[in-house]
Amino acid sequence: MLQIQSLTRRFGERTAVNEVSLSIPAGQMVGVIGRSGAGKSTLLRMLNRLTEPSSGRILHDGMDVTALKGQALRDWRTRCAMIFQQFNLVQRLDVLTNVLVGRLNHRPLISSLLGRFTAAERAMALEALDRFDLADQALQRADTLSGGQQQRVAIARALMQQPRVILADEPIASLDPRNAKVVMDALRDVNKRDGLTVLVNLHHLDTAREYCDRIVAMQAGRVMFDGTPAELTAEKVREIYGVDEAEFHEQAEEAVRPKHTVAA
């Protein structure tokens, strides 16, 4: 159970996330939607503590995540894996090492610094890669993979952390529709098969409706809607955003596109 209580983050004058409270039972797949600048990324990054909250609390199974420091914080990060729009792999390292990065917090510092992973760890990584049909690419450099493949490597890395929660920040915004489907299917698979809680930021309402058990809509840092896909009707969208769905998509996509384009 992940409990978010009045979570707020300010950047100077601007309040990116404003008094957000949510309670997410284990094993749920939650889609967070909203226009560009709504605060979706900031919310997710605070859950992993990559961004520090200004106020409010995060509780996971009763443990106060916001108070964690040092090793305890790194342990929490290991338990709530993060997936990014730009994949954030180490481009110049091979795929296998990228996946093994997910084990770093589980092993002794010196042998990690020397890059000495055990055969058992490599086997675990190869199995994770094989699950997403990437075992053959294990020794290729990450920057030689397509966007969809890179995102699946990122998911394999996340699984290596043996997490309880997966946070995915616009995981398919840089992908073409076919790759987007493969990646969303992979996320659904880890949600259904491994029982992980998945929080995914999306800018496409249809994707959210298709894959998620629950949808949270944000606007200017606040939660404007929280319910099942069936409850998020076209009227509801117009009510929250003041535009119809087609226009909403256009605006959301416009916001995501120019940031980065990923080749092939």
Partner: protein
């Protein structure tokens, strides 16, 4: 110019153009002020350091004269004669075996010092990179520390170490290594500051500690750059290593200092020629090496 515009220019263009003109005016003023400050400063600096044009003019011929003197007297007839024949190449380089050994020692000193110094830089560069530093205080401390290391010239370190450890290569190696740590530390840190932090977020979000994120997210990205700087510094250090010997810190410098102070003109030119040849061949070699390594790592050349 404004007369050339049509009368119906849009307000956006009008305000934009006005802002542009104002900015240009300001830039011009800034340039003028800079010149007005710089020129007197230059003149003052010249006056204080007694760099009179007349002194420079009077000294110029003497430089030529010195070069004339250190030229060897070679004669075409005996060019390939033995070490005892005056006018032969062998006579000019009669102590070549000794000098070559000293040159080898010099190159060794440079290599060791570059390795040691760069190892220190590598450790200090991460906290000295503004985007990664654990805290502003640590950033300032490492940055200022590196600055201090590289501000002191090698020759000064060499003097201190010769006093502490005695005459010999050890003093020279430590002196050059310290300076290298400071110089490369700054370059390494700046290379790190230019990296993309996506991979950093990736490793941190997976629970990797600060040190591990440096090792896995940053190091692979900057390694080709660091190797470039390392080899460049090796070349620079060959030059430094041939000078620290002036104060007894090993290498060919001691020999060079001696022949200069005893006015053994022909030997001066022989040694300098050897140093130039050595530096040139190491330049070529390291250029090759750099391309080979970086080509293998698949980075920018």
């Amino acid at each position: 110019m404004s007369a050339a515009f049509h009368t119906d220019i849009s307000p956006v263009v009008a305000t934009g153009e006005a802002a542009f003109q104002a900015a240009r005016q300001q830039r011009r003023l800034a340039t003028l002020v800079a010149i007005a400050v710089l020129v007197p400063c230059l003149l003052l600096a010249g006056w204080v350091s007694e760099a009179w044009p007349s002194t420079i003019w009077a000294g110029l011929p003497r430089i030529g004269e010195y070069f004339w003197r250190i030229l060897p007297s070679l004669s075409l007839d005996h060019l390939f004669g033995g070490t005892k024949t005056e006018g032969s190449l062998a006579f000019w380089f009669y102590r070549a075996p000794e000098w070559l050994w000293l040159l080898f020692e010099t190159a060794n000193m440079a290599a060791l010092a570059t390795l040691m110094g760069s190892a220190v830089s590598l450790v200090l560069a991460f906290p000295a990179a503004r985007n990664l530093s654990p805290s502003p205080l640590i950033y300032q401390l490492t940055r200022r520390g590196l600055e201090a290391l590289r501000t002191v010239p090698e020759i000064v370190y060499a003097l201190i170490f010769v006093w502490a450890f005695g005459v010999g290569a050890l003093a020279g190696i430590l002196a050059i290594a310290l300076h290298t740590a400071g110089a490369n530390g700054k370059l390494f840190a700046e290379a790190i500051e230019n990296t993309d932090l996506g991979a950093w977020d990736g490793v941190r979000s997976a629970g990797g500690s600060w040190a591990l994120a440096c090792r896995y997210a940053i190091l692979p990205q900057v390694l080709p750059n660091l190797i470039s700087y390392f080899l460049l510094r090796f070349e620079v250090n060959i030059r430094s290593a041939s000078v620290v010997g002036f104060v007894g810190a090993g290498g060919i410098g001691a020999e060079l200092y001696q022949v200069i102070s005893f006015n053994y003109y022909e030997e001066i030119s022989a040694i300098i020629l050897l140093i130039i040849l050595a530096v040139a061949s190491i330049d070529l070699l390291s250029e090759r090496l750099r391309h080979a390594i970086i080509g293998r790592l698949g980075g920018p050349a």
